[in-house]
């Protein structure tokens, strides 16, 4: 006794633990109740009564369940192992829950009781014949219409007496025919009987069709899991049909006294006929379809007006989408795909992590965005598992799918053919559940990415360092790298550069970046493979290394993009930096130029041109950053608000795209890129020009300073400060300097011409580009029409201004069109679901032909077929007036139709073969194409490089030609001068010759005279002596005269003085 009670307590405890979340309280309750009722007398129930009760209850819901019960009960009764069978049954009975009305298998093909006479006896039957009674409960309400059967039996008797043997054989045949068994056609019976017979025999035809469909050897059977679902549900239908046929047959054959008439069978056949017809219709439309397409095509029948058809379609659809549901749940919860070859559902996995949505495979009961959501959810789950190595516990988005799953579990146990209220695919919860699950999964993924993998930080870092948004860092880095990068690429080493990078990070705000960002920032060199002599600037690049799950977000293509962007931005930045340095040098030099007015003009021109180039650089940089700004903002906003990963990736891609368009390295801006390259190269040339100019000026200044110093030294030493020799040398040097300045001036002129030419082309191309923001950039670069004034090309109509205006106008028109479209879309949204579906169908041209054909609308269908055939160039004429008699198609028309269908089939086969071949060829071509594309791209790059080189060559050649022309002019001038000079020389020579001849003549004369005179020659000394004596005498005489004169003079002076005194005295005495 003790063992029993202990057993009891243990069992009770277990029970409570099983049932209740709070087992202790439950246990208390159970124990108290059981002990309180223990003493009371137990009502021992009668087993038979109990069974009857259970049976009745089950039968009230479903006859099949009742049958099942009797079956299992019979088995149970045979087993002797249970001692308290009755009490267990009574427990089950009292626990049975009828409140939850589950709609179990209906009687698909209710069989009327043909043997009407049996009804009265049926109700009072003993327990052993329960089974046969059940049939009456569904069809006829016994009891109340007791009087009716009498009449029926009378009628039956009358019929029987009339044409009994013939009739019975006929009925049997008809029942056999209904299962597709070929029997002798009832010949020799009256026409009405024949009609009835043929009606029943139609069942046989439909049955054969269905049978053929589910027969794997016929080739009609749809493929895939969903196809199998459809086949199995059709098989169920057929089984049910067989069952009812069997019952019918047994009644027909057994009932010796009653027996059915052909007409009764015919009446019974109405329902199955309807059912089988629709089944056959659905099956017909489902031919050669699979997956979601199949589901869509069955789903079309769900909206059928006939309640019965709709129910049938719903049942079929539920059965056939069961595998889809399983797959969906597995995909949503675990991200695994069971069946990827069939690709039934919405999904097809290509390789690894990539999953593709095939539009046409989406079942029609699923909205497209819903399918996309499902896809995204599964993908994020897979991503979490595979990339983030995240252990998926119970996924937190699972509870969103609870409703969905509960139903699916319920269906799993109760059998797929059962329908619980609304099937999962039409449950309201599906949409919301999927949406919520999607939101939860993407939220989870995103939060994991943001919190564990610092997605936002990395995005920002990419922008800051690879797209040069962190200004101070970039500037500092560039200043530090200046010297290093001017070296040739072959002498650069990554480790040196890395040190510099770290120094730059330490010195700027970049040091406050989190370590996971800084540790990923690296320097890399990307040497060109073509063996050109590159400078460090060409190969240097910053690199941001991402790995792990972030690798999916920033794939290799993305990295390449970033690299290209970095290269471009870095190049522009570098040029700007160089120009700024040039300005600095200029300013420093300018202070020393006070006493060198000859260079002022040139310096001023250079600085103007530099300002022009700087402005262009600035505008380019600003354009590349500002143009992409909205896209980046959108991306960050999306990341902050928790969009799903796909949209983030898309936005990121978009932002990069925008950025590369504005930096003009996008594939749509390839032309612009080369022009921009020319402009930038020219700008660099300005920088080098300025360097040489400054060097020349500085050398001259230094020389002058040295001279001044020398002067000072010499002065202090007390020598002459500046000798004539020094002056000559100085003059020489000055002349050379002036020559140098003149050469530079000529260079500058050449440069200006080429530079402006390049800029003008760039502006022109920018203005002609399709991208609006680039057009506005063109406007900004030339807002004052400076370049326009300088170039005739820009004046031409239809190229620049005109085109610009018209382009903008066109874009405006496009915009307004888009707006209108959007407005209509909004209207479209507000339309009813059905109308929308119709419109959708109309778009895909599926509406007319594939609408299920019924007896009522077959004419329209035939007309539709006629039209479609006409479109396909198949001769099929259908004339509803001639070809249809009494709502049936005439044989000729049928023959025509069949012939056309044959042609169509033939065409179809040909077409499919062709498409297969074409697909194969297409595949080959595609692979070839991709290879060729690669080659073409490589070639393009080479050509571009060569183009740039050749342009540089052309520019230098132009410079050289300009030089040479000037020289030529000078040469011509000098030549002319030379000619003049030679002429003058000749004339002078001639004059000289004449003079010489004259002189010679004179000379001759003079020599002759001399010869004549030599005879009367006296020696010169004698003559001289005499003349000297004479001169001395004269001198003596003259001296004497002078002495006399002096004496006279003195006397005269005395007299004058005396006279003056007298005058004075007279003046005094006078008054």
């Amino acid at each position: 006794m003790d063992s029993i009670s202990s057993n009891l307590t243990i069992l009770l405890r277990q029970l409570c633990e099983e049932l209740s979340p709070a087992p202790d309280a439950a246990y208390e309750l159970a124990l108290s109740y059981l002990t309180s009722t223990n003493g009371k007398g137990r009502t021992v129930q009668d087993e038979r009564l109990l069974c009857q009760k259970i049976y009745n209850r089950l039968a009230s819901i479903s006859a099949q369940d009742a049958d099942k019960f009797t079956e299992s009960y019979a088995k149970l009764k045979n087993s002797l192992i249970l001692k308290q069978r009755v009490s267990i049954l009574s427990l089950l009975m009292s626990l049975s829950d009828t409140s939850h009305q589950n709609e179990s298998t209906q009687q698909l093909f209710p069989v009327p009781n043909l043997a009407v006479a049996n009804i009265c006896t049926g109700s009072s039957n003993s327990k052993s014949t329960i089974g046969s009674v059940s049939w009456s409960s569904n069809v006829l309400k016994q009891g109340s219409n007791q009087s009716l059967p009498e009449d029926y039996s009378n009628a039956a008797i009358v019929l029987q007496s009339n044409a009994r043997p013939n009739e019975r054989a006929c009925v049997r045949d008809a029942v056999l025919a209904a299962t597709g068994v070929r029997t002798r056609s009832a010949v020799g019976v009256s026409r009405p009987v024949q009609m009835l017979y043929s009606r029943i025999a139609q069942l046989g035809f439909l049955h054969d069709r269905l049978k053929e469909f589910i027969d794997p050897s016929s080739g009609l059977m749809p493929q895939g899991l969903m196809g199998e679902g459809l086949v199995s549900s059709i098989r169920d239908e057929l089984t049910e049909y067989y069952r009812s046929i069997a019952l019918l047959q047994s009644q027909v054959c057994e009932g010796e006294g009653g027996g059915g008439t052909l007409r009764r069978v015919c009446v019974w056949a109405q329902e199955p006929l309807h059912r089988l017809t629709w089944l056959a219709n659905m099956v017909h439309t489902a031919h050669h379809k699979k997956g979601g397409e199949l589901a869509s095509c069955i789903h079309r029948f769900v909206g059928h007006g006939d309640e019965r058809v709709a129910t049938l379609a719903r049942r079929l659809l539920t059965a056939l989408t069961y595998p889809l549901l399983l797959m969906l749940t597995r995909w949503l919860l675990h991200g695994s795909l069971v069946n990827r070859i069939v690709g039934v559902a919405t999904l097809a996995v290509a390789t690894g992590r990539q999953a593709i949505l095939r539009e046409w495979m989406v079942p029609s009961f699923m909205a497209r965005e819903q399918a996309a959501q499902i896809l995204a959810t599964g993908k994020s789950v897979v991503f979490m598992r595979e990339a983030c190595a995240d252990e998926l516990g119970p996924s937190d988005h699972a509870h969103h799918l609870q409703a969905l799953l509960k139903q699916h579990n319920g269906m799993g146990t109760e059998g797929a053919e059962r329908e619980c209220g609304r099937a999962w695919w039409e449950a309201e919860g599906l949409r919301a559940g999927v949406a919520a699950a999607h939101a939860a999964a993407s939220q989870r993924l995103l939060s994991a990415l943001i919190s564990h993998h610092h997605l936002l930080d990395h995005l920002a870092a990419h922008r800051r360092y690879l797209l040069l948004a962190q200004g101070d860092f970039v500037h500092h880095l560039m200043t530090l790298l200046q010297e290093e990068l001017n070296k040739p690429a072959s002498s650069l080493y990554v480790h040196n550069l890395t040190c510099t990078l770290e120094a730059a990070v330490r010195a700027t705000n970049a040091q406050f970046e989190p370590p996971h960002v800084l540790s990923r920032l690296h320097v890399n060199l990307y040497p060109n493979c073509d063996g050109r002599e590159d400078s460090g600037w060409d190969v240097f690049a910053l690199q941001y290394r991402v790995d792990g799950p972030l690798g999916t977000l920033f794939p290799a293509t993305c990295a390449a993009r970033y690299r290209a962007l970095f290269a471009q931005l870095w190049r522009v930045k570098r040029i700007e930096h160089a120009l700024h340095r040039a300005w600095r040098d200029h300013i420093i030099l300018h202070k020393r130029l006070k006493y060198m007015p000859e260079v002022w003009g040139l310096m001023r021109r250079v600085s103007c041109l530099r300002a022009e180039a700087l402005r262009l650089c600035g505008a380019l940089q600003e354009a590349s950053c500002v143009g992409a700004e909205p896209a980046w903002a959108e991306l960050l906003a999306a990341a902050a608000s928790g969009h799903h990963l796909d949209s983030l990736l898309r936005l990121h891609h978009n932002a990069l795209e925008r950025h590369s368009i504005h930096a003009m390295i996008h594939h749509t801006t390839q032309e612009l890129q080369s022009y921009l390259g020319n402009v930038l190269n020219e700008t660099l040339a300005l920088r080098s020009f300025e360097t040489t100019l400054h060097a020349g000026i500085r050398a001259e200044l230094d020389r002058r300073d040295r001279i001044e110093q020398l002067k000072a030294e010499k002065l202090s030493r007390g020598e002459y400060a500046f000798t004539a020799a020094d002056e000559v040398q100085d003059k020489e040097k000055r002349k050379i300097f002036l020559q140098f300045l003149a050469n530079r001036k000529a260079d500058l002129n050449v440069w200006t011409r080429t530079y402006r030419g390049h800029v003008t082309t760039l502006i022109l191309k920018l203005a002609l580009h399709a991208e609006i923001s680039l057009q506005t950039l063109a406007f900004r670069l030339d807002y004052s029409d400076f370049y326009k004034r300088g170039d005739a090309k820009l004046h031409e109509p239809l190229t620049y201004q005109h085109k610009r205006l018209s382009e903008i106008g066109l874009n405006l028109a496009k915009l307004s069109l888009m707006l209108i479209e959007m407005a209509s879309l909004r209207e479209y949204e507000s339309l009813d679901e059905e109308v929308k579906e119709l419109l959708e169908n109309y778009k895909f041209k599926k509406a007319t032909l594939y609408e299920p054909c019924t007896l009522k609308n077959f004419k329209e269908c035939l007309i539709g077929i006629y039209e479609e055939f006409g479109l396909l160039n198949i001769n099929y004429t259908f004339n509803p007036q001639i070809d249809v008699e009494n709502d049936t198609l005439t044989t000729e028309a049928l023959v025509k139709l069949i012939n056309c269908v044959w042609i169509l089939l033939h065409n179809y086969k040909n077409a499919t073969e062709k498409t297969e071949r074409l697909e194969e060829r297409n595949h080959i071509l595609e692979s070839n194409n991709s290879q060729l594309n690669g080659l073409v791209n490589r070639l393009k790059e080479k050509i571009k490089l060569e183009k740039n080189e050749s342009k540089a060559c052309v520019a230098s050649a132009q410079r050289v030609t300009d030089h040479s022309s000037e020289i030529y002019k000078k040469y011509l001038d000098t030549n002319a001068k030379l000619l003049q000079l030679t002429k003058q020389k000749e004339t002078i020579e001639r004059a000289l010759q004449t003079k010489i001849s004259k002189l010679q003549l004179e000379n001759n004369k003079l020599t002759d005279k001399l010869r004549n005179k030599s005879e009367s020659y006296t020696p010169c000394s004698e003559v001289c002596d005499s003349t000297i004596i004479q001169v001395k005498e004269r001198e003596r005489n003259q001296r004497k005269v002078i002495a006399k004169l002096q004496v006279n003079n003195q006397e005269l002076l005395r007299e004058v003085l005396a006279l003056k005194e007298e005058l004075l005295l007279e003046g005094l005495h006078g008054p």
Binding site: L11, S79, I81, Q84, L95, D97
Partner: protein, 75 residues
Amino acid sequence: MTSEKNVQIGQAREAFQMLNQISQLLNTGLDQETLTICIRLCELGVDPESLAYVIKEIRKVGERETHNKVVNTQL
């Protein structure tokens, strides 16, 4: 001896399966473990009516609690 036992076990299993089927047909909501326990309890002579009452009560209490929880969380 063992064969006899095997036969017995087979019979018991069959009987249990039948009962399980009936239970499902009647929609009692008992899972296999609970049903096993119930059968054993009945075999020990517990009154089925009171047992059924107890099970229903426990279920009700459980439902009420979960409901309360839901209400609390909602509040």
